[in-house]
């Protein structure tokens, strides 16, 4: 393979990976801290897109839409956590109830989107500023692709700073390790959970808005991203933030180079990667959190 092909496929893989990471990181954060498998995470991705669309109908500004979509998705997330999910914490068979409840929210939120905004495809144009592309040698890189990659890295850096360098971050990490102890120490754990859920769903919303100019804005788009994000999280290690990054990079790049050699296998490539990882390390590649492995 010549260098040009390598670089262009690598960058493509990176941009695929970053959008995956933005969704998956929220999913894994919720699992790690709140201990909920948020199967409805894709619906917040969808909500982010549609809130941004609505904002752009009023103000015609992508950047404002980006903020509105992110914030509103987070607010809906907090409402869902505070009024609904909280009620089933600590139940016997909590896992099954989490699945059912978040599944119910997929059904409800997707249909609400269709009810409010209609079934037809919507358009969110790229901001003028990022419409073009530039060349590295003979490799074409669209500015928007670069933008996605940069935002992905900014989120990674912010998260690292927050989790590792601030007191609040320490609290979040602590609550993922020993919730009860933290509560005994006088921390408002339920509040942390709601906030983390809000931040994580906001990240889903952010991914939704960022992806919108490149994808089809349609009800049902949320369900289409959830399985891939779950795969990323499973590969990386459930509940591990850095695992989500690693998993996304692996999936993005494997897909990107895989289609050069095995275009026939594209649809099952991600599943194969996942199964291989799981057979070797069933708890995922990185997993500091107790996984319940026997």
């Amino acid at each position: 393979m010549d260098l040009t092909t390598f670089v262009s496929q690598f960058i493509s893989g990176l941009s695929v990976a970053m959008l995956l990471f933005l969704i998956a990181s929220g999913l894994t954060l919720i699992f790690g801290v709140v201990n909920v498998l948020n199967f409805a995470h894709g619906s917040f991705y969808l909500l982010g897109t549609y809130f941004a669309y609505q904002s752009m109908q009023f103000f015609d500004n992508f950047w404002l839409g980006l903020i509105v979509g992110t914030v509103c998705a987070g607010v809906v997330g907090m409402i869902v956590e505070f009024f609904f999910l909280k009620r089933i914490y600590g139940r016997a068979e909590e896992g099954a109830f989490q699945l059912l409840m978040t599944y119910a929210f997929i059904l409800i939120l997707d249909d609400m989107v269709k009810f409010i905004w209609g079934p037809e495809y919507k358009t969110i144009p790229k901001p003028e500023l990022l419409a073009g592309s530039f060349n590295i040698g003979s490799v074409v890189v669209p500015l928007y692709t670069l933008f996605i990659i940069v935002v992905g890295f900014v989120v990674v850096l912010l998260a690292w700073y927050f989790l590792m360098r601030t007191d609040k971050g320490k609290m979040v990490r602590a609550s993922s390790l020993d919730r009860e102890m933290l509560g005994l120490l006088g921390t408002n754990v339920p509040m942390i959970m709601t906030l983390v859920f809000g931040v994580a769903t906001a990240m889903g919303g952010l991914a939704g808005v960022m992806a919108a100019p490149l994808r089809t804005v349609t009800p049902g788009a949320g369900v289409e991203v959830i399985i891939d994000s779950l795969i990323v999280v499973v590969i990386g290690g459930f509940g591990n933030f850095w695992g989500a990054l690693l998993g996304a990079l692996i999936i993005g790049e494997v897909l990107s180079f895989g289609i050069l050699w095995m275009p026939e296998m594209a649809t099952v490539l991600t599943f194969i990667v996942m199964i291989v990882v799981l057979v070797i390390k069933p708890e995922g590649l990185l997993s500091p959190k107790a996984t319940g492995r026997k």
Partner: protein, 414 residues
């Protein structure tokens, strides 16, 4: 007591006579459409078009003053659709099954139609199988199949595109995507066109991110990139490929669903100029009174312009009405089948001087195909580009092709 009994009898008799005069002459059509998710827009468009057509038919009148009534249910998945189709027949006493976006569901429901001997009009699903190797005599289709699109496409590639040799394909990895590529290659071979395939790409249906495929295609550098997406996948692919200047480096060719209005609308100004597209109905072609009236009427009813799914549904209802008029009632299924075979149906998409007709052997509607390139045209907002410079391919050159039906039967079995 006696009086009350008498009164009751009168009431019952009145009620009966009312049912004779009104109720009994409602001819029910049981429709199934996708109403949620990606395909939902096609279902909603079909719903609007059905209402338009039913109003037209009922206004014009049917033999004996009968009225058409259409029940629509979201079909969800093949299992559920089969169950609903059976309910339609046994409980609602429908005379016709109707609609369906997905070929997988169409294939499941055609079995119900065959088993229960109820006519099934397919209006949007395009798998050639249904009017070829999986043909059964109660099935009719009011929109063209993928073979008709791809055969016209092969002719276009032979006559209109000069100096190409290398060709690549990208399409969703399921029957619809696979069939189109097989059909195009068969058509090119049949026409004696020499070509070299430099790549085949099979992303999953509803793949959100095509970036890696795009860079891989750029590297393969075909002269022509054939695409077999539909709906949102078309939109995503074009949006993502444009900044890579893919459309400047090769000819993009997408003739079954590429020019469908909802994709043109969703892409708006992002649509590149000069790419080769087609669809099963165009809002801006032919420039006949009938087509203009149809498109404007739809716009008035829905507040948006129709995708091609709407035309299939619209034509399907008129096909049923025409058959009932010929037979005189809707009860004699065998006579209705006979009436539809070879029937002429005036469709919005018919250019002046041509009328679509039902091929008596395969029950497939036979229509002209028009392939064009994108040009700036903002008459149908929010689309900013529409098709122009259309080349028209005669209907009888495209279907039936018994040679292809034999080939397909060999490939896929009965």
């Amino acid at each position: 007591m006696k009086r009350r009994g008498l009164f009751l009898i009168v009431v019952v008799m009145l009620f009966c006579s009312f049912t004779v005069a009104y109720g009994a002459e409602t001819i029910k059509i049981g429709a199934l459409y996708t109403m949620t998710g990606r395909g939902g827009q096609y279902g909603k468009d079909s719903e609007v078009a059905i209402k338009m057509a039913v109003d037209e038919v009922n206004a014009k009148g049917l033999p004996g003053g009968a009225k058409l009534e259409v029940i629509i249910t979201d079909d969800k998945n093949p299992q559920y659709a089969v169950s609903v189709a059976k309910r339609y027949i046994s409980d609602e006493k429908v005379k016709f099954l109707f609609g369906i976006i997905s070929s997988a569901i169409g294939l499941a429901v055609t079995e119900v139609s065959k088993e229960q001997k109820v006519i099934f009009i397919g209006t949007d699903h395009a798998a050639t199988d249904l009017t070829a190797n999986k043909f059964q005599k109660y099935y009719f289709r009011s929109a063209n199949n993928t073979f008709q699109s791809m055969m016209a496409g092969a002719m276009y590639l032979k006559d209109e595109v000069k100096g190409w040799k290398k060709i690549a394909y990208i399409g969703p990895d399921y029957a619809y995507g696979r069939d189109q590529w097989m059909e195009l290659k068969w058509g090119l071979d049949k026409l004696g066109v020499k070509y070299q395939v430099v790549g085949e790409y099979w992303p999953k249906l509803y793949e959100p991110d095509y970036t890696s495929y795009i860079t891989a295609i750029m590297k393969a550098a075909p002269d022509i990139l054939v695409s077999g997406f539909w709906g949102g996948d078309t939109v995503s692919f074009i949006k993502q490929a444009k900044p890579y200047k893919l459309f400047e480096k090769m000819k993009y060719f997408h003739v079954d669903a590429g020019g469908n209005y909802e994709a043109l609308a969703a892409l708006g100004g992002d649509m590149p100029a000069g790419i080769i597209l087609s669809a099963r109905h165009h809002n801006n072609w032919p420039d006949t009174q009938a087509n203009k009236a149809y498109v404007q009427k739809f716009y008035k009813a829905a507040g948006r312009y129709p995708s091609y799914a709407a035309e299939g549904a619209y034509v399907g209802i008129h096909m049923i009405a025409e058959a009932i008029r010929k037979v005189g009632n809707a009860n004699d299924t065998e006579a209705l089948v006979k009436a539809m075979e070879g029937m002429k149906v005036q469709c919005p998409e018919d250019p002046s001087g041509f009328t679509s007709y039902i091929d008596p052997k395969t029950h497939q509607i036979v229509q002209v195909q028009a392939i064009g390139v994108t040009v700036k045209n903002a008459k149908f907002p929010p689309a900013k580009y529409m098709l122009g410079n259309l080349k028209v391919y005669p209907a009888d050159k495209l279907w039936p092709s018994f040679e292809y039906i034999d080939y397909l039967t060999k490939q896929k079995g009965k």
